[in-house]
């Protein structure tokens, strides 16, 4: 049986490059480096958040972890097994270990399937249980997410956004996964529903001892749910560490700017206003050296243009990729 201390998820030097078609551009063979070398681990019962803006590569990374896409380089290991090398029965085993909840509760559920079949899909696809057994499991998991078991007969359009997300969560839980990838799970929900769902995630984590890989752009949500945070910019991790530390004392200049841009909860909340100029550059043509240097308000100088900083622990604390440290 797997050692509870060994990581549930181990990502090493993960990269994904998309080749651009030749011909239309002068000099073919150019590449979009959507993700360019990520390393992190998640242990049992923990939550790691990938934080960053659009174009930073977090969605691409999750797709590779979910085996919906193949990495160009690097490996994804779940319970020690390389995910992309699995076939047949071992692959089915992986599928029941890693599940996902996506952002949009409307497109996450097939409108023509009953809730019972939707929720049961991961179970039915990977194990041979009798119909009655499946029904029992569906009923239990529906109750765990706060829905009445008799609602299994209904269709998705009979439910509200928050309830649909609960159904999606139930479906992700039913196979008793080790890891659930949460891709912006509350952004499409009304504000008053979000807190219900966020509390639900916390309760379920206690109950099922499941790990979460959380992708969210809302920093307050992230702070509430995550034990560890990895901040991404243009395909690589610029800072990673325990969320308490990162949030209370961000060190990388981008992290600082990101947090300052996050809106305060109160008009009186102080914030160090760091407003970045420009927008995230295109990953087709990333800046040389440190990709953040054109917008960095703490830029050191030429070294930032020439050399990409490595992600390494600085001063005995959590890793950060910046020449300042």
């Amino acid at each position: 049986m797997t050692d509870p201390r060994s990581p549930v998820l181990e990502v090493t030097d993960l990269a994904r490059h998309f080749p651009l078609p030749h011909g239309l551009f002068s000099g073919g063979g150019r590449v979009v480096k959507a993700v360019d070398g990520m390393d992190f681990t998640i242990h049992q019962g923990e939550t790691l958040a990938l934080v960053g803006e659009s174009g930073c590569g977090k969605t691409t990374a999750t797709r590779m972890i979910l085996r919906l896409d193949t990495p160009t380089r690097g490996s994804v290991k779940v319970d020690g097994l390389d995910v992309h090398a699995l076939r047949g029965k071992a692959l089915r085993g992986f599928r029941s270990k890693v599940q996902a909840v996506f952002q949009d509760p409307w497109s996450s559920l097939n409108p023509r399937m009953r809730v019972r079949d939707l929720v049961a899909e991961p179970l039915v696809a990977n194990s041979k249980l009798s119909s009655k057994e499946v029904d029992k499991r569906v009923a239990k998991v529906l109750e765990d997410v706060g829905l009445r078991a008799d609602l299994a007969r209904n269709f998705p359009h009979e439910f509200s956004g928050g309830q649909r997300q609960r159904i999606a969560i139930a479906s992700a839980l039913i196979s008793n996964p080790r890891l659930i990838v949460l891709d912006e799970p509350v952004s499409a929900l009304d504000v008053s529903i979000r807190s219900q769902i966020m509390n639900l995630f916390k309760d379920l984590q206690d109950q099922y001892q499941v790990s979460y890989l959380l992708v969210a752009h809302d920093l307050a949500t992230t702070r509430y749910l995550a034990d560890h945070v990895a901040v991404m910019y243009l395909g690589w991790i610029v800072e990673i560490g325990p969320s308490e530390q990162i949030f209370s004392a961000p060190r990388h200049p981008y992290t600082k700017a990101l947090f300052s841009a996050a809106l305060p909860g109160h008009p009186d909340d102080s914030y160090e206003e760091v407003i970045l100029e420009g927008e995230m550059p295109s990953p087709i043509n990333p800046p040389t050296g440190c990709a953040f240097h054109p917008r960095c308000h703490l830029k050191l100088g030429k070294i930032c243009e020439r050399q990409a900083p490595l992600l390494k622990p600085a001063q005995g604390e959590a890793p950060v990729a910046c020449h300042l440290y």
Binding site: L66, R92, L109, R112, E121, G146, S175
Partner: protein
């Protein structure tokens, strides 16, 4: 943790400003009635309902006009050169209209949709090959095929079906493929892959089920095309062979006497018009009805 109850059933849709007389109570009553009277009832029951046989000639009453234009109630819609009753022949014509549409569309849709599904879901090699076939098929004029078939084995019911299927399959393959391409990007398809479902299961439960609507609606809207196609083919003599009373042939036969015995072409032509119009209106309604669930505000 608290329990939630389902939101009450579907929210009412915003009222659309459509011609309400065509759809009292939300159903397309007028088109359905017309279709029943003009197409379905005659197609199914003409042997019992038609006043005369389709080939029953009576040379004494040749070229009699319709009843309100100088004729008699014996032949309500007039007679043709051989004294055959126009009403009866038009009624028998409905059988061919219905059978050609049904069979032709079925064959074309099944072939086209299957290929479209494969092309859209599997992508890669399958997609390229199938789409090239579609391109070729769409580039070949149907008439050419019809002529070839007529030359090879003579005009027949079977050759018309082949031509119809040939015309339709490529169009369906394209439409279905386009729909599948967008469906497979939906979150729930990705989640089905993550859940571990096999490709076949995904195709069946997630993709096909959701393309079905489009297929049904499109198929309905093809009826008009098929009937007109048969009419054109028969008109040219490369469709169903004479003396079968298809609507197309009836119109064609009345061509030469258009100015004198206008009723020979008029009534079969009117039957075509009413059928095509009603089917299209019905298809429109069906499309709206089956479309993404009524929007809520």
């Amino acid at each position: 943790m608290h329990m939630s109850t389902p939101a009450s059933a579907e929210a009412p849709a915003i009222r659309k400003n459509r011609a309400r007389f065509l759809r009292p109570g939300g159903y397309p009553v007028v088109p359905i009635v017309i279709l029943t009277l003009v197409l379905i009832v005659p197609a199914l029951f003409s042997p019992w309902l038609a006043p005369y046989g389709a080939e029953e000639t009576d040379l004494r009453t040749r070229l009699a006009p319709p009843v309100f234009f100088g004729g008699s109630w014996d032949h309500m819609l007039g007679t043709d050169r051989l004294g055959r009753d126009v009403l009866s022949r038009t009624m028998y014509g409905a059988r061919y209209a219905l059978s050609i549409s049904a069979v032709g569309i079925l064959v074309g849709v099944v072939i086209g949709s299957t290929l479209g599904l494969i092309a859209g879901y599997a992508r890669g090699w399958f997609d390229t090959v199938i789409m090239r076939l579609v391109d070729i098929s769409l580039a070949l004029p149907a008439m050419l095929l019809a002529l070839a078939l007529a030359a090879l084995s003579g005009p027949s019911f079977r050759s018309v079906i082949i031509v119809v299927a040939f015309v339709l399959w490529a169009y369906f393959a394209r439409q279905v493929r386009a729909e599948v391409l967008s469906l497979r990007e939906l979150d729930y398809v990705a989640l089905a892959v993550v859940a571990g479902s096999s490709h076949l299961t995904i195709l069946r439960r997630h993709i096909l089920v959701n393309v079905m609507n489009t297929i049904v609606v499109l198929a309905t809207l093809q009826v008009g095309i098929v009937i007109t196609l048969e009419a054109s083919l028969s008109f040219l003599g490369i469709g169903i062979p004479r003396p079968t009373p298809t609507w197309g042939l009836l119109v064609s036969d009345g061509r030469q006497l258009l100015t004198s015995a206008w009723w020979l072409s008029f009534f079969p032509g009117l039957a075509i018009l009413l059928t095509v119009l009603s089917v299209n209106l019905f298809g429109d309604w069906l499309r709206d009805r089956l479309d993404p669930k009524q929007r809520t505000i």
